[in-house]
Subunit: 624 residues, 2 copies
Amino acid sequence: MANGYNGRILHVNLTNSSWKIEEPGEVWYRTYMGGSNFAAYYLLKELKRDVDPLSEENILIFACSVVTGAPISGFNRYTVAAKSPLTGAFGETEAGGYWGPELKFAGYDAVVIKGRASKPVYLWIHNGDVEIRDAGNVWGKDNWNTLETIWKEVGDKRVRVASIGPAGEKLIPFATVQNDMEHFNGRTGMGAVMGSKNLKAIAVRGTKKLKFADPGKVKEITRWHNDRIKTHPPNVGLTKYGTPGLVKGLNNAGILPTHNFRDGVFEGVDKIDAEAYHNTIFHSTGTCYACSVRCKRRVASDDEKYPLDPRFGGPEYETLACLGSLLENDNLPALARGNQLCNLMGLDTISTGCTIAFAMECFENGIITEKDTGGRPIRFGDADAMLWLIEDIANRRGFGETLSLGVKEAAEKIGNGAEKYAFHIKGSELPAHDGRGKTGMAMGYALSATGGDHVETPHDTAFQKNVGSLESLGILEPVRPLDTDYDKVRYFSLGQKAWGINNCLCLCNFCSVPIHAMTFAGLVDAVTAITGWNTSLFEIIRVTERSIVMPRVFNNREGFSPKDDRVIRRWHESFENGPMKGKRIDEKAFRDAIDLYYELSGWDKEGRPTRGKLVDLNLEWLIE
Amino acid sequence: MANGYNGRILHVNLTNSSWKIEEPGEVWYRTYMGGSNFAAYYLLKELKRDVDPLSEENILIFACSVVTGAPISGFNRYTVAAKSPLTGAFGETEAGGYWGPELKFAGYDAVVIKGRASKPVYLWIHNGDVEIRDAGNVWGKDNWNTLETIWKEVGDKRVRVASIGPAGEKLIPFATVQNDMEHFNGRTGMGAVMGSKNLKAIAVRGTKKLKFADPGKVKEITRWHNDRIKTHPPNVGLTKYGTPGLVKGLNNAGILPTHNFRDGVFEGVDKIDAEAYHNTIFHSTGTCYACSVRCKRRVASDDEKYPLDPRFGGPEYETLACLGSLLENDNLPALARGNQLCNLMGLDTISTGCTIAFAMECFENGIITEKDTGGRPIRFGDADAMLWLIEDIANRRGFGETLSLGVKEAAEKIGNGAEKYAFHIKGSELPAHDGRGKTGMAMGYALSATGGDHVETPHDTAFQKNVGSLESLGILEPVRPLDTDYDKVRYFSLGQKAWGINNCLCLCNFCSVPIHAMTFAGLVDAVTAITGWNTSLFEIIRVTERSIVMPRVFNNREGFSPKDDRVIRRWHESFENGPMKGKRIDEKAFRDAIDLYYELSGWDKEGRPTRGKLVDLNLEWLIE
């Protein structure tokens, strides 16, 4: 291996305020490459089983990849991982922005955090140096005030800050980590883990220029990729409308999650779709490090009731659905205000929206009443109820205290049949994709180690049209989106590995393989040019398969079993209206597909990767 | 799939002298790509189980690949396959030369032959046209006379002829098919299957220029590859000495098969090694279509006792060992003469040498005596005994009649404990590699669907030094050649797929991946430039895995089971001398490694690919 990659991992122990540097060596870097694999490696190596996720024993990992920080569009993400307080399973959540590249410029590929500080602290990492600083000035503050205060304290506005808001401090199991107010490690409650460690933020600044094995080639790929982004249809759409562009299409297809996942069409869709967005609240576009897609939207409004500040982020598709159609809320300014409240407080908009939808359906069905909610009705379509519930959840007060547990535990606390409307997988609320319209996404939700996860999962619509690079995987014909047959299981498995590449390498789905502007060949060239490794798509997909298998082993160790690999009851019931009327996922066929997936993946009937599969993937250290 | 590949398969029925053309379509071509996959596809689809290999029901396939005939070095091979009369298992054997490309120029990717002609015939395929011609003038003739006669009959010396010699006509189960007197489909007795169909030869001539999706890129890869061949060390060695260059190195390592696989060093090695070869019998070099390696050697001698004709081919490494060290024969001119006799008669030199070695050891141990052999001793080191035995085997006369059965059946016929010295796997004699010195090769021998096969098997020495493109597979560190541990099983499995690419795409190991001058990236580019498919190493290795799984399913269907996946008794016994003294393969550890391989491969404990694995590989049509 010529010109090889070698980097550094920062290990911090908050209990005794110490830190040390690990250089794991090139073979380790090439075996795992980054992101979810780095996280899973440390969680499996160093975390005991059955640990309370909010105890000081949990391990919190911030990880980039060997290619993060290269100036190619989308090569800018990082992951945050730990055992999840929301699910008790493998917790992991990625974000874009500038924080990941900045960590690399500061000299580290990842930060592994153990223990718990005796009082609130933040980490200040600058060009290799590390300080564990008192967070007295920022504890209790929202994310914006935290950011501004830390800028002042370190005296540099170019510092990138990943922080938690009050929700994380209050250990809400769906609290986020976020950076620069518009990039979110949203899912699985990593903000609560950070809070449990008394860690308010990690501020990073680096001026180290990354060394690439072939800088000329990196430049060439960057240019070629940016040119493709300008014309590759899925990217053209993202550049024009961002993710809000999805709202209308999904509604037209009859699968825009509406009324707590009951329906797939939303009457008020025209008021929250991309056109409405751009004609009303849109302020400007934003982007991530070195990315030419510019899919981020910022919003602004002087409205007194629903003021919007462009610094606090604009709603993405998931938020438009979870705080919009899912609640039958067509009040876009209120929706965007709800989004900004979540951002300021550090709440995941997906889990927050799903939890409110759950509450609204419970209210609709008399399972909870105004007696429970402090005298205020919680009805579908009531934007203001959404807003006060967000504030109450973030502050864990009133009925918000119950909802701050997430739908699974809230339903248990409420009782009275509430679990009938508590839609979650492995304890995680669901992103805004209805599995009845895309069985591959449904399989991804069922099988994701983190609970319902829409980022690591293949998109059936891509299979259907066979767009992008799918042919390079040997997917030669369109796959019917509603089936759960052999084709679907095979192509789900291939797609899962293909999309999983982005999780390992910390790339953005929106400019990478398999359906956006990056081709597989281009990606292999990029990894080679950056690292000097003479790699291949075959090797990269093997690395990716580790990122599927290791979290699975983690969850098996924590007691998860095939019964947890399921979707929500509602998806086995037919849509009652819209273009998908009558469509549902057959429960028996779906179970068969999951069982076939196990076998196809080299897992046993209990969904455990076999000894052979572990050996195949150089993971024999996980054989028990 | 733009610019896609679409070709034609010729189906011939000899029973009723008919033929037809199939155009299987692009998805089929891309799913299977060529060679062993095409063969396995037709054998599994169209051959009933339990058929007598020498009955008219057997199906004989000659197959190129989608890239055969491109002017890139090594892209020139074809395979011949059928149910093997030697093993009763999947029979398949590749050859280089010019015949494969000529078939492509004539308009076909493969020829599938069924039935049996009522009297001897040969096929004459010219620019798409097909004639089934009377073979009265060539039946009974040796390969050279057959070639010359057919040239005359069709009136064109540029015609390429794949033919059988008298050995094939006499249904000797290790009879070869060969083309141009120096390229051999040597193993598994395909010549006998051809003979059983009364098919003496297939003559082909085509003037069609192959169309490539990107001709400029094909040219560019050709030049780049030929430049690499000039400097890439393993290729430099092959160009200089051909395969005879291996003799000395293997002897020095203590693993040159000697004395019927008992020993690994041969006293007379200096008399049969590459230097002796080039100083005595060497005449000139030869090559295959468009190949710049030029590894073939031709030999010449006017010696009256051992005359050598440069038209009849020079011994390769396998022959130098099997007619040389294995018999303790250091008489190089006699050895080369034996090789030419085999070529003329159409006998596989590997099986022939192994069978004679078996006879010599039986004689040495009194299991057979001069009473059995017609009064002539058969002693190790007796070159003349080798020569008359070759002639008697080819003519099925005297003791040669017994030996013409191959070691397995000959031992059964001889009885008297002869099976103690009958070394075969699944009924196939072994190429000249001692598994005690390379456990990966031993695994390959044990697991090969065709019995001991040295062509589809990874080379431990490559793993040991980690040469060539192995890092692109994720093999990052040298692997110890003598182990049977997790590393070995994993890297064997990876290597098997990597070497298997050449079997699928009909490429020559000696200029292709993974250790010779072609890189994986170059190969992917070449397949893309030729076919127009936006492929990847991932897709190509999935195609290759089909070529491992389909023959396995074929053998399972024919009743083969894990007990057949074994090596020879001798390799579980220690070498008694040389650098490898004391080294053996532990039988229990080896069994464990095979069992782990099953699991790692997605096969069940009975060595049967699971339903999941078949679905994974688009082979659900093989689920029974």
